[in-house]
């Protein structure tokens, strides 16, 4: 069974974001890049499906500039068999729809039985791509899943997604698209042997023309980015306990109007 995992390289969660001089982009200086954590759940699940079935192929794919190779190498080190890097200046300003079109073209070439991705990337939090990809391919899709089980024949997948107070269970015919929610698994750390093996695995550069796509303008463009307003400073209420509690309640009621 062939599984394709779509991943995105995003800034480390500990990175403090700075806006670029144009007010429309993030300043990339000093950013540590990682594989988006939800996508790591997807990679882990793909590897587990392959290991459980005892055969198959896991292909990691990502769209972005040269630095994205590092993220794909991490996926190879975790155990993916090969990687595809959609790397073309034509995709420089790609919105989710352009990215979905590029991925759909790769999926058509690769013909996997299952596409896995994270529920959303943790940078722009759009979460739009899996649905757009499903629509473009005409494939069934299920999002934010906590459990999955591919049937023995590889014809269907049973997934459970988190809903208020429980799990909602679906059977999807394959091929299908499934997105990973936190809790699906605990991603492995790459082993040293995995890292050493990663450099011998195929990491293919793919241009728009290679998947038969013509240049297009993004339909979505960023008009402006704004930094969050600085948090107002906290206030420490002085005095003995009974007085301080009275003042706290008064302040919560009258100043903050919280109670």
């Amino acid at each position: 069974m062939k599984i394709l995992v779509a991943i995105k390289q995003v800034p480390d969660t500990a990175t403090q974001m700075k806006l670029g001089a144009d007010g429309k982009t993030i300043d990339p200086t000093g950013i540590t890049w990682i594989v988006s954590p939800y996508d790591e759940f997807a990679v882990e699940e793909a590897l587990r499906i392959k290991e459980k079935r005892g055969q198959g192929e896991v292909v990691a794919v990502s769209l972005g500039p040269d630095r994205v190779k590092e993220a794909l190498r991490s996926c190879l080190a975790m155990g993916c068999d090969r990687a595809i890097h959609l790397n073309d200046p034509a995709w420089g300003a790609a919105d989710t729809l352009m990215t979905a079109r590029a991925l759909a073209a790769v999926v058509k070439q690769e013909a996997p039985q299952l596409v896995l991705c994270g529920r959303q990337a943790i940078d722009d939090d759009m979460g739009a791509l899996p649905a757009q990809l499903g629509e473009l391919l005409g494939w069934p899709s299920a999002y934010w899943i906590m459990e999955e089980a591919v049937d023995a024949d590889g014809k269907t997948v049973r997934v459970a997604r988190q809903v208020e107070g429980g799990l909602e269970v679906f059977d999807l015919p394959l091929p299908a698209i499934v997105t990973a929610q936190k809790g699906l698994n605990e991603p492995r750390y790459p082993t040293l042997k995995g890292i050493m093996g990663a450099k011998k695995k195929e990491l293919k550069d793919v241009k728009a023309a290679d998947v038969g796509l013509a240049a297009e303008a993004p339909q979505l463009s960023i008009t402006a980015l704004e930094a969050l307003p600085p948090r107002p400073p906290g206030r420490i209420i002085q005095g003995d306990l009974p007085t301080a509690v009275k003042e706290l309640v008064r302040s919560l009621r009258e100043d903050a109007k919280a109670i």
């Binding site: 590092e70 750390y189 040293l192 890292i195």
Partner: protein
């Protein structure tokens, strides 16, 4: 000249950092308080195959160099694990070197796979109470009796004897000849037989999680197959692990300094006194900036020495210099970090206190700063020997 890591080295750096950082500072605080060996941490590194870093691929390891081992240990320390985390891992990184370079095929087949997986827990038995840095004067003796050696004597600062399954042991097999004081010493790699070795732990300043001991060897029998290399040439075989040891412990000190500096910088940004972050004061900022610059310089020296070693070039001067600068830089960074924290730097819960205690070790071990200066005076500058 190329200062860049290879793509593989960069990936190693990143992945070790992420694995090491999955053990938070409180884990190490707890291990330090309870004096418990950090088994969870060691097992995580064993499972990831990291312990087999320098063991050749033919014996189950990854066959990487001292450079990669140095990257691993730097990231472990920079993650805040300190000497408590680095020591249990570095046993796998330099003590096996004489076995890899000089051991018989049979010895390598028997022991290296266990080293690579972490099943073998190593201890290093060289230093003695009556010899110190003058290794030629060790008194532990190994006498040949048929197909085995019988060992009697004692060792001090034997790290990890509480957990060890095996030991790299240096003993005299021929009397000391003043004309050739380093001849007649033999190196063994052998099971740690607790029936014949008594262990007495030494209470110490830092790294309570990993024990240091005095050990008393009484009639330990070692089969001749467990001799590393040639009988009588043990000291020379050991030299192959001494330069890597200086490089690796040096870069550990740099990593510990970085962990302390990271905490201090964070604190200096957040701590508000007189209505502004204390890091705005140059009296706080400049020592932190200087600490960074010195750590950076020391790390470069460590990596240069590692590069020389991996290229099969002489690296005595560079390895010693690396350890000298790194021990200073690491110590200064931890000291500045404590100072930046003010009174809280003295409290355990801010973690720089533990790092400060641990980093002090590197000015003494594996060789004192003064002996490094002696080495440089004599062997690099050509000045007359002072002792």
């Amino acid at each position: 000249m190329d200062f860049a890591f290879t793509e593989q080295q960069e990936l190693i750096r990143k992945e070790v950092a992420s694995l090491a950082r999955s053990f938070p500072a409180d884990y190490w605080l707890e291990k330090d308080n309870s004096a418990e060996y950090p088994w969870e941490f060691v097992r995580a590194f064993a499972q990831g195959g990291w312990l087999g870093c320098i063991v050749p691929e033919a014996y189950g390891g990854s066959g990487l160099g001292v450079t990669e081992a140095a990257i691993v240990l730097h990231e472990i320390c920079a993650a805040g694990a300190g000497t408590s985390g680095a020591s249990p891992v570095h046993f796998y990184m330099f003590p096996p070197m004489p076995v890899i370079k000089h051991g018989s095929e049979d010895l390598k087949r028997r022991y290296l796979p266990g080293v690579a997986t972490g099943e073998i827990v190593m201890s290093f038995g060289v230093t003695e109470p009556n010899a110190g840095t003058d290794t030629s004067r060790i008194e532990t003796r190994a006498e040949r009796r048929g197909d085995r050696f019988v060992v009697n004597g004692r060792k001090v600062w034997n790290t990890n004897a509480r957990q060890a399954t095996h030991m790299l042991l240096l003993a005299r097999t021929a009397p000391r000849d003043p004309a050739h004081p380093f001849a007649g010493l033999t190196l063994f790699f052998t099971p740690f037989d607790r029936a014949k070795i008594a262990v007495k732990e030494i209470a110490k300043l830092g790294r309570a999680a990993v024990d240091s001991n005095e050990i008393f060897i009484d009639g330990l029998e070692i089969p001749v197959e467990d001799v590393v290399g040639e009988v009588g040439r043990g000291f020379y075989h050991l030299l192959d692990s001494l330069n890597p040891e200086r490089i690796m412990t040096g870069i550990e000190a740099v990593g510990i300094g970085r962990a302390a500096l990271e905490r201090a910088v964070q604190y200096a940004k957040q701590r508000i006194v007189f209505d502004r972050p204390i890091g705005q004061n140059q009296a706080i900022a400049h020592p932190l900036a200087l600490a960074w610059a010195k750590l950076e310089t020391a790390e470069l020296m460590c990596l240069k020495a590692a590069w020389l070693f991996d290229g099969g070039r002489p690296c005595g001067a560079e390895s010693n210099t690396a350890k000298l600068l790194a021990a200073e830089a690491g110590f200064e960074a931890c000291d500045v970090a404590v100072q930046t924290h003010g009174g809280y730097g003295y409290a355990k819960e801010f973690h720089v206190e533990r790092l400060f205690r641990e980093v002090r070790l590197y000015k003494i071990a594996p060789v004192s700063q003064q002996m490094v200066l002696n080495y440089l005076s004599e062997h690099v500058l050509g000045l007359p020997k002072s002792y």
